[in-house]
């Protein structure tokens, strides 16, 4: 810090007409001068675009069994298929075009991860705020449940849920939600507890505002930023977790293959040198997770007070 901080009055004097910084300006400020993070942002946009428009972009509908020809099976990238089209990334054992399968797989992987993280985080944020605000037995019940969950690695918990309830997209999402909410709840509670000690909360109590209003208008907006900072990281780990579960054969069904399941399907052919079936979905998976993580790192560094202003 270039100024001494013995007393607190270092804020700039006010100028009445200076507009508040806009959201986009803030985003630009976070990413300016960090080319890797900008690449990550662009990468994420491309992946999202491909996922949304997969049916329009993909050369083939990989779910349409009638259009698959077993004679096209296991062709390397660039081969010409029976119907005269070129398969850019090769085909799998059933003659399915890898590019199409990857695009559809991307769609499923992203969908599962996003739904799980958004629902899981929402539950976690609510539980964390509730625990902090109410205290007492409400807090005890919530936090002991969190402890119970946190004493297990997520992957094991997900395996357990899937072993009990069986597999399927909905089951995977439930398993991931169960894995996601607890850490968010713990994070939010910690932040909310420190916010609750601050005087603006006391002022709201002196104003006679109800607990729910204080939670909604005072506590929530001031406790949410750490969750937003870790959100990309949560998404990328949810993508990884879904892929892992599907790879292990307990995730999404074979009729709706995600990237992880595509990799698993190709895994059997690796030892015989047919690498493309497994490698291309893997590259897309890693590419996407990497892009998100690079952005997530930047957000986290930006939020870290020890690094802020030191760069």
């Amino acid at each position: 810090m270039p100024v001494d901080t013995t007393t607190a009055d270092i804020g700039s004097p006010s100028s009445p007409d200076k507009p508040e910084p806009r959201f986009l300006e803030n985003v630009a400020k976070i990413f300016r001068g960090h080319p890797a993070a900008i690449c990550g942002l662009i990468g994420i946009s491309i992946f999202i675009f491909l996922a949304i428009f997969a049916p329009l972009i993909a050369p083939q509908d990989p779910y349409d069994q009638t259009r698959l020809d077993i004679l096209d099976g296991l062709l390397p990238p660039g081969s010409t298929l029976g119907d005269g089209t070129t398969s850019l990334l090769g085909t799998d054992a059933l003659g399915r075009d890898i590019l199409s399968a990857v695009l559809y797989g991307l769609r499923i992987s992203l969908f599962v991860a996003l739904v799980a993280v958004i629902v899981g985080s929402a539950i976690g944020v609510f539980m964390g705020l509730l625990a902090a605000m109410k205290g007492g037995w409400v807090e005890t019940v919530i936090m002991r449940t969190v402890d119970l969950k946190m004493s297990f690695p997520g992957i094991l918990l997900a395996l357990m849920v899937l072993a009990i309830f069986g597999t399927g997209i909905d089951k995977v999402i439930i398993a991931l939600i169960i894995g996601a909410w607890a850490s968010e709840a713990r994070l939010v509670r910690a932040v909310a507890l420190s916010e609750l000690k601050k005087d603006y909360i006391h002022a709201a109590q002196l104003a006679g505002l109800s607990d729910w209003r204080i939670m909604g208008r005072f506590l929530f907006p001031n406790s949410i930023s750490p969750v937003l900072v870790v959100l990309p990281m949560s998404i990328s780990s949810a993508i990884g977790a879904e892929a892992t579960l599907s790879f292990l054969g307990v995730g999404v069904p074979i009729t709706e293959p995600s990237l992880g399941l595509l990799i698993a399907n190709g895994n059997d052919y690796i030892l015989s040198g047919k690498w493309w079936i497994s490698i291309f979905p893997g590259l897309v998976l890693v590419g996407m997770v990497l892009c998100i993580n690079v952005v997530a790192d930047r957000l986290r560094d930006h939020a870290n007070p020890y690094l802020r202003g030191k760069e």
Partner: protein
């Protein structure tokens, strides 16, 4: 060996800012320190005082640039040295005393490890010799039971003791110079007095010079031979302490001296500039505030009466310790009469803020208490409406301006959100009221649209006052409202509070650790120590001729700012 020890010549230290601009923390500053001399560097926050000390020791942040000039120490240009060359200077020639002793010591190393490593780095004593010398140093620094302390960790000792250990570290190699950066700001006033006494004794013994960096004129008056006044990185004035304090020649220094609250006599208002807002808006705000239901109870009776107020906090059990009870407040009784200001003074941990928070209802007192407000026992209030009216009739001005406003609401919403949420005001009415109140507390109406981070600490406190006023309260609890502020800002704010009290007939409970501020603001005062009231009475009596020896001790420990006596 010449008499001249330090020579700062035209020093400019700049920091590149994120937006490409350059911030000059210190700008063309020169000073000289002779051997054995105690020189004060004073200024408010943002004056760049700490930068001088850090530049001398090569401890500036990595991105700092020395634009012009430098620091000569004993004929060595230290500002040009490489990092490794500082080994001969840090600790051995220059000792450093940090602002907050609790954070300056490493929490996971023992006192002994930290003291002995400094001794071994800067003297030729090793092993048992170093240990014996460490004990000797602690004795000199007046640390009781020195041998036992060596195996303790910092968090096991008080702030005052930690600062004495920092002193011992700083003088271990008998340096020529000690840079003391706000050495007592984190300490209570009685501790400050003793600790500064030790520092002077230690340095006089060895003829060590001190550069004392501080914002506290009282400390300067008592300690320094010569003083430099800084503002925004630039030198405003220099001279002997007597001359600068009693007869400052520059306008800023004059304003600074005028803003310092005096313990010896009460003045009507501080002689600092303070603009109030547009008269028309102000009048409208006052009309609104005066329209509150006049319900002060019986004539001549106290507005607030507190009996048998106690508070016990239970410390939660930790890994290695069972739960313990801590009595923060025990058996406090007092009355506050309409329109008066009752002060509560005490050192940190005396329970003075807890008293106010219990009256406000933010803490639940131990059973057996009785709080009467406007003639009613507050626990007899039953209906929701009664409770709400009572809640809003008692308001608070908080200590820390940086946490007292909701950072996610505009200044205006901070002031009127609750009234709108309760359905008292429409959106348009709320907008008008917040603007009027902003003008009343001396802020432009238009700035109600801005978020809290755009305001300075003093301005935020003003918004906090406006928020408290919006409920048309009869009683305001002021919880050290100016302790986080610079002295000139404090003076402006205290003036404002006096103006508002005169206009609105408010009743104030004013908590402070600063006796001089209490003297200026309060009619009566209660002195607290460790949760108990030791004395209560009129300020003119308690703060002039106290009966209790604790109050006497507090008064004696206060650094005196009496320029006429220095001169």
């Amino acid at each position: 060996m010449t008499d001249q020890l330090v020579h700062v010549e035209n020093l400019t230290v700049a920091y590149p800012m994120a937006d490409g601009a350059v911030f000059r923390a210190i700008d063309g500053f020169s000073m000289a320190v002779k051997r054995g001399q105690i020189v004060g560097v004073v200024g408010e926050s943002g004056a760049g005082k700490s930068t001088i000390g850090k530049a001398t020791l090569g401890l500036l942040d990595e991105n700092a640039v020395i634009d012009t000039g430098g620091v000569m120490l004993d004929e060595v240009m230290v500002t040009r040295l490489e990092e490794h060359a500082f080994a001969d200077i840090r600790g051995s020639k220059v000792g450093y005393i940090y602002q907050n002793p609790m954070t300056a010591l490493n929490p996971v190393l023992t006192i002994g490890e930290q003291l002995i490593e400094a001794i071994e780095a800067n003297t030729n004593k090793r092993g048992q010799d170093a240990r014996a010398y460490a004990i000797d140093l602690l004795e000199q620094a007046e640390v009781p039971l020195p041998e036992e302390r060596l195996s303790k960790y910092p968090h096991q000792l008080s702030g005052g003791l930690c600062q004495r250990i920092v002193f011992a570290i700083a003088i271990s190699a008998k340096p020529d110079l000690i840079i003391a950066d706000e050495p007592t700001t984190a300490l209570d006033v009685t501790v400050q007095k003793a600790v500064l006494g030790t520092l002077v004794k230690l340095t006089r013994q060895e003829n060590i010079a001190i550069i004392l960096i501080t914002h506290d004129m009282g400390v300067v008056a008592e300690m320094c031979d010569y003083v430099y006044v800084l503002r925004h990185g630039k030198l405003v004035e220099e001279g002997s302490t007597a001359q600068v304090l009693s007869n400052p020649s520059e306008p800023y220094s004059r304003e600074l001296m005028a803003a310092i609250p005096r313990i010896d006599h009460k003045i009507e208002r501080f002689a600092v500039p303070g603009g109030l807002g547009k008269a028309e808006d102000r009048e409208r705000a006052i009309d609104y505030l005066m329209s509150r239901k006049a319900d002060a109870g019986v004539e001549g009776a106290p507005l607030l009466s507190v009996k048998n107020l106690s508070k016990t906090f239970t410390m939660k059990a930790t890994a290695l310790k069972a739960a313990t009870d801590f009595k923060a407040v025990s058996d406090i009784n007092f009355d506050v009469f309409p329109g008066e200001t009752l002060g509560i003074v005490g050192e940190s941990g005396s329970g003075k803020s807890t008293v106010g928070k219990m009256i406000l209802g933010l803490h639940k007192p131990d059973p057996g208490y009785e709080i009467t407000y406007k003639g009613h026992n507050i626990d007899d209030l039953t209906s929701k409406a009664q409770k709400l009216a009572h809640r809003q009739s008692l308001q608070c001005i908080f200590q820390d301006p940086y946490s007292s406003l909701n950072p996610r609401m505009t200044a205006g919403d901070n002031i009127t959100y609750a009234l709108r949420a309760h359905g008292v005001l429409s959106r348009a009415q709320a907008l008008e009221l917040s603007g009027d109140l902003m003008e009343l507390v001396g802020l432009p109406r238009a700035s109600a649209r801005k978020m809290p981070h755009a305001f300075s600490g003093g301005e935020r406190q003003r918004i906090g006052i406006a928020r408290a006023l919006s409920f048309r309260p009869d009683f305001i609890f002021c919880d050290e409202p100016t302790s986080a502020l610079d002295v000139t800002v404090q003076a402006e704010l205290l003036n404002l509070m006096k103006d508002l009290q005169d206009q609105l007939g408010l009743t104030l409970l004013f908590v402070s650790h600063d006796l001089a501020v209490v003297r200026q603001m309060c009619d009566r005062v209660m002195v607290m120590r460790s949760g108990e009231a030791v004395e209560i009475g009129a300020c003119d009596k308690v703060l002039v001729a106290p009966e209790h020896e604790y109050t006497l001790g507090l008064l004696a420990a206060m650094p005196r700012f009496r320029p006429e006596e220095v001169a």
